[in-house]
Every structure is written in structure tokens, then in C-alpha cells.
Amino acid sequence: MTWGLHDSVEMEQHGRPAVTVVTEAFEAAAVARAAALGLPDHPRVTVSHPLASRRRDEVSEMAAAAAAAVAAALMKR
């Protein structure tokens, strides 16, 4: 999570819209980290946990379900 969020915040700081997708287990950490990096309102889409143990087709389903939220977060920036 740490470096994914780091990269997204850096993208935003370079003027590119970005959003971080995290699992529920990392939500609190993502909030704290984004604030520490200077972007407390950095957009975030939260999906269920765990992720790493899911099959490819399950992950594709999760991605499809989250896509609209990701797009909406990007369009707002």
C-alpha cells in the first residue's frame, strides 16, 4: 500500500489526477499517510480485504465493480 499511495500522491503533485485503491484493512493507514504526504483529500476507493488470495477472475470482478468509483474520483480532480 505504502508505495502505491506514494506514487499516486506524487502524480497528483505533478498535476495529474490520481486515485488510490486500497483494501479495507489499509484504509486508516492510507488516510494517515496521505495527510503526512501533504494531500489529506487525496481520493481513495476502498475494496474488500483480502485481495492477494483471490483468483484472477474474482479480482477482475472486483475491478469492474470499482471502476465507476475510480472514474468518478478521477473526474472530480
Binding site: 500500500m1 505504502t2 484493512a25 489499509f26 486508516a28 493507514a29 494517515a32 499517510r33
Partner: protein, 357 residues
């Protein structure tokens, strides 16, 4: 009393009550690791600071993940809380400077689910002078400088970096090194080889800390073989271990600490191995075949160089990228128990000189 503010000069706070009430106050503020601490009163912090030439307000860096400002004074306050004697302070400062090096990646090591914690290896004459143990039970923490120096570094990481279990600290399990770290001296007197810091380019009379974050201490017992060759074979077999992600992380150039007990080291030395030969043998032998690594552990995020032919199930994957990434040290007392400690994730470790005032 001094608080651990996140920026600038450490805050002064006045609290009333006795010693235990002061300790409870620090616990409520979230500045302890769950064990009692010594309240960092101004006189105690000043005494700690008298063991460095650096100014109290000097900024050493910013501690990830939450980027607290690390000043010399704040490090001193945490060293007092950890129970350090003032003369330990140069070792604590060097350890903090080491984890602030970019190649240490302290933010990742502090937050990872992998639960890594810092190992501090002390080399040079200061170890003997301060009584930092590299002998019997040196990893065990029940030796004052070993326990308190390691704990001071962990309190600095926790209080200034902000990785605490209710927020950025995400260790699935962690290990007790998260409390006291793991600080020990190399047992230079009983080593058949030049010490670690000399191998890393420092003079023997220079004192250093070499710090690396590890997931834990993996033991190697060999009490039957009578030759160094036999001991090496057991060490190699123990390190061909699937349940650590390091075989998938070779391109990150992270090291493996191989901590040989004096008896094992001397047997290996008598068998004709120098430091270089032993590292090269480990590099050639501590490998797992591609077929065992496919689809397991951290395969999905593997960082392998191009020369590994993934289409060949028998292709051999080394545990580290080069022989130099084995950090050989001699540590421990009598007996035939060694250990190895793979660095975590992206932590390449760092060495810093201990500045003696």
C-alpha cells in the same frame, strides 16, 4: 519533561505526580512500546546530549512514514525513555542516521505486513568499551546496552515516524524485535575473518553500526558434523527455505545477514574458507529451482533479473543478487547454534560511523 513533538524543538511539558504517574502519562500519550520507560526529564536528556558534539536542534532527517522531524534532542529523549546510559548515545545516534539513509527504506520497513524490525550490528572498539555483547545470548536482549540501544532506535522510529498499531503499523504478526530491535556486537575476537565493517571498507579501529530490517531470526543448529565443510552444508540447506519472500526479491539487492557462532565460524575457517570464498559458495549453493518458486510466496511481485530463464523449471534462483549481499558476521558464545536473517522487502541496510565525542 520533554514531549516528542513532531516538529522543531522538543516540547516541554510540566506534569505533576510521582514517577509512576509520569510513566502512565507517557503511556497515555502513546509514546511507549507497552513496557515502562524512564521519563525524559530535562537533566537526563541534557546528560545524554553531553555525549555528542552535535547541536540539540540539528535536524537529522524526517522519519517515514509520517515524516516526523528527527532532531538530536528528540533522539536523546527517546534514548532516555529506552533506558540507555548516556555513553550509549553515540551508538543510538549512528543507528538513527543509518535508518534515515534512503537505501534503508525505513517507511516501508516500519509499515509492512511483513513485520520487519531493525537489527543493529556494532563493530569496532566501542563495543568492548560499552559492554555491547557479541557473546553468550547476544540476541537475547537481557544485556543492558544491547536491549536499550535497540529499544531506543525502535522508540525513535515509532514516536517520530508514527508507525503505531492503530494506524500505519500494519505488521500481520511482527516479532519481538519491534520492541527492542536486535542490537549486538560482532564477536571480532573469536572470528577467523576480518570484521563486517572492515569488509565494508572501514578501518578496524573505526566503530560502526550496520543496520538492516529483518522479518526475524532463522536458526541453524549443527551439532554433529565435525568439519567446517559439513557445517557449511547445513547452513546452505537451512537457507534453502521457501517461506521467506527473499528468493522473489533478488533484484532489490537486499542482503542476508549470516551470523555464525564462533565454533561454526572457526571450523569453517579451518576448512580453508576465507570470507570471499564462503560468500561465493553460499551464492552458488543457496538457490531454489524455478519450479518451487512459481506460484508461491511473492511470485506475483517477483523481481528477477533477465538471466533467470523462467521457462526452465530446473533453473536455479539465488537468494541474493551477488555474493557481496551475504553479510557474514560472527556472533554468540559457546555452542553450535548459528542464524541467518534475510533483509525485508526493499531494505538494503546501511552502515554509519559511530562518532565518539
Amino acid at each position: 519533561m520533554m514531549g516528542a513533538a513532531t516538529t522543531g524543538r522538543a516540547a516541554r511539558r510540566t506534569i505533576s505526580g510521582d514517577f509512576v504517574e509520569a510513566v502512565r502519562y507517557l503511556e497515555r500519550e502513546g509514546w511507549t512500546d507497552g513496557l515502562p520507560v524512564i521519563p525524559p526529564t530535562e537533566p537526563l536528556v541534557a546528560e545524554m546530549l553531553s555525549h555528542t558534539k552535535r547541536a540539540p536542534d540539528e535536524v537529522l532527517g524526517h522519519m517515514e512514514p509520517l515524516r516526523g522531524t528527527v532532531t538530536v534532542e528528540k533522539v536523546a529523549a527517546n534514548a532516555v525513555m529506552a533506558g540507555c546510559l548516556p555513553e550509549y548515545f553515540p551508538v543510538v545516534l549512528a543507528s538513527v542516521r543509518a535508518v534515515l539513509q534512503p537505501e534503508f527504506h525505513v517507511g516501508s520497513t516500519a509499515c509492512t505486513t511483513g513485520g520487519s524490525a531493525p537489527v543493529i550490528i556494532v563493530n569496532g572498539p566501542i563495543a568492548r568499551r560499552l559492554g555491547i555483547s557479541g557473546g553468550t545470548a547476544c540476541f537475547g536482549g537481557n544485556i543492558k546496552p544491547n536491549a536499550t540501544i535497540g529499544r531506543a532506535l525502535r522508540l525513535v522510529m515509532r514516536n517520530l515516524g508514527g508507525a503505531k498499531p492503530d494506524g500505519m503499523e500494519k505488521s500481520t504478526q511482527a516479532w519481538p524485535g519491534k520492541i527492542v530491535g536486535c542490537c549486538f556486537a560482532e564477536n571480532e575476537a573469536r572470528s577467523p575473518w576480518e570484521p563486517l565493517h572492515v569488509a565494508r571498507g572501514y578501518a578496524p579501529e573505526t566503530s560502526t553500526v550496520t543496520v538492516v530490517a529483518v522479518r526475524g531470526i532463522y536458526p541453524v543448529t549443527e551439532g554433529t558434523q565435525t568439519t567446517g565443510q559439513g557445517v557449511v552444508e547445513t547452513v546452505v540447506a537451512a537457507m534453502r527455505y521457501l517461506g521467506t519472500p527473499i528468493f522473489h526479491q533478488m533484484r532489490n539487492r537486499i542482503p542476508v545477514v549470516v551470523a555464525l557462532c564462533p565454533e561454526h565460524a572457526q571450523e569453517i575457517g579451518r576448512a580453508g574458507f576465507g570470507r570471499r570464498q564462503l560468500r561465493e559458495l553460499l551464492y552458488a549453493e543457496v538457490r531454489l529451482p524455478v519450479r518451487e518458486l512459481i506460484g508461491r510466496v511473492y511470485y506475483g511481485t517477483r523481481a528477477w533479473p533477465d538471466w533467470i530463464d523462467e521457462s526452465d523449471p530446473e533453473a536455479q534462483v539465488p537468494i541474493v543478487a551477488t555474493p557481496d549481499d551475504f553479510w557474514l558476521v560472527v556472533a554468540g558464545g559457546d555452542g553450535r547454534h548459528s542464524a541467518w536473517m534475510p533483509a525485508w522487502g526493499v531494505c538494503r541496510g546501511a552502515t554509519e560511523v559511530i562518532e565518539e565525542s
